[in-house]
Symmetry: C2
Subunit: 218 residues, 2 copies
């Protein structure tokens, strides 16, 4: 009975890691679609989101049947409940990548991101992608230290977003309102992807240790 | 044992309804702070968010102990798991109200919303507040019909957001980039509050019937 439980739990965590990889691809492709003005890649991101949604349903079904049939308590219960929350957040990260891809698609054949804003947005995309990649490894390795580190690295995303705001509200901004609104929303989407990455990592810590990292409360 | 279970479950649902009311107040006050440029009301929203967070923790603790000690199955399990998700979404709605309040506070003594944009933003605030109010009653009454109706009414919010975008991207927009970015982000925050309201209502339907309303998939 306990062995069956832990097998199913392992299968949930490998599903979560797989979803995380799909989200990583979504973030990478969405950023590429944005910076290259590539409608085809944007469409790929939008279409692939259905896989993430389907994978979420699978994880939810497995977790639910695990709760129902195995009736875990204490630490085991905590892990299953954490997995349910993690999968919701991963799905949201997929949705946010779709939002980025849709802004890219909307502006084709033009680029949504003007030249001066390109370095910041490109870096936001990199940071987000890197954070998602590291969440996958936090999930697989159940690495509490790496999870806590991820929380600290979220600060770079916040700085990027502040820098981006300063740029588009500055006197040198020559690209008008539409472009500024695109950049502001893109900044918001990347920031939320990073927030969710930190939150998923924190849930791994909670699942493993029974406590959230202290930094989360700061 | 079953009686104790249902008592605790009732207490979770009345906590959820109470949190919903706090969120409704947060939305109303945030909109007022925004339209009146009232820093004091904005501060109230920001400070009161700690109560919502604390209430979320209480619901999570109760739900967790319920899962652990009573080991519910089937329908009962579904209800507890739904409650855990609903409380996360309600907390998010509180956070989004704080975002609205912070934009209000940032622009004091000016108004973040210029005169022409006022009707749309005011209506967004009303729709969001109304939706949150109705979610509270969906939770209390477990009213499946009202939950499904809420999903349909979310369309008004989407229309408002499209109208708001058209306005700030139109040739008549005279308020520059900063104001346009504020309005775009405000539109996003109100839209997300409405999305979460629909999602919480759908979870009530799921808890009661075991299925999500079909409209959610559309």
């Amino acid at each position: 009975m306990r062995e069956a439980f832990h097998e199913q739990l392992d299968s949930i965590f490998s599903d979560l890691a797989e979803i995380c990889q799909e989200v990583e691809t979504a973030v990478r492709h969405a950023t590429r679609a944005l910076l290259d003005g590539d409608a085809e890649v944007a469409e790929q991101v939008i279409a692939a989101d259905a896989n993430i949604d389907a994978a979420r349903e699978r994880v939810e079904d497995t977790a639910f049947s695990l709760l129902s049939l195995q009736q875990p308590v204490a630490g085991d219960l905590r892990v299953v409940v954490s997995a349910l929350r993690m999968v919701s957040e991963l799905e949201r990260m997929g949705d946010l990548s779709v939002h980025v891809a849709k802004i890219a698609r909307l502006r084709v054949p033009d680029l949504a991101v003007p030249r001066e804003a390109r370095p910041t947005i490109a870096r936001m995309g990199e940071v987000a992608e890197d954070m998602v990649r590291r969440v996958a490894s936090v999930i697989v390795e159940k690495d509490v230290e790496a999870a806590i580190e991820l929380g600290r690295d979220d600060e770079e995303m916040d700085q990027l977003r502040r820098g981006s705001f300063a740029q588009l509200l500055g006197e040198d901004w020559e690209h008008g309102v539409e472009s500024a609104v695109d950049i502001a929303l893109l900044g918001r989407y990347y920031e939320r992807i990073a927030d969710h990455a930190v939150s998923v990592a924190n849930r791994v810590v909670f699942a493993v240790t029974g406590r959230y990292p202290v930094a989360q409360e700061a």
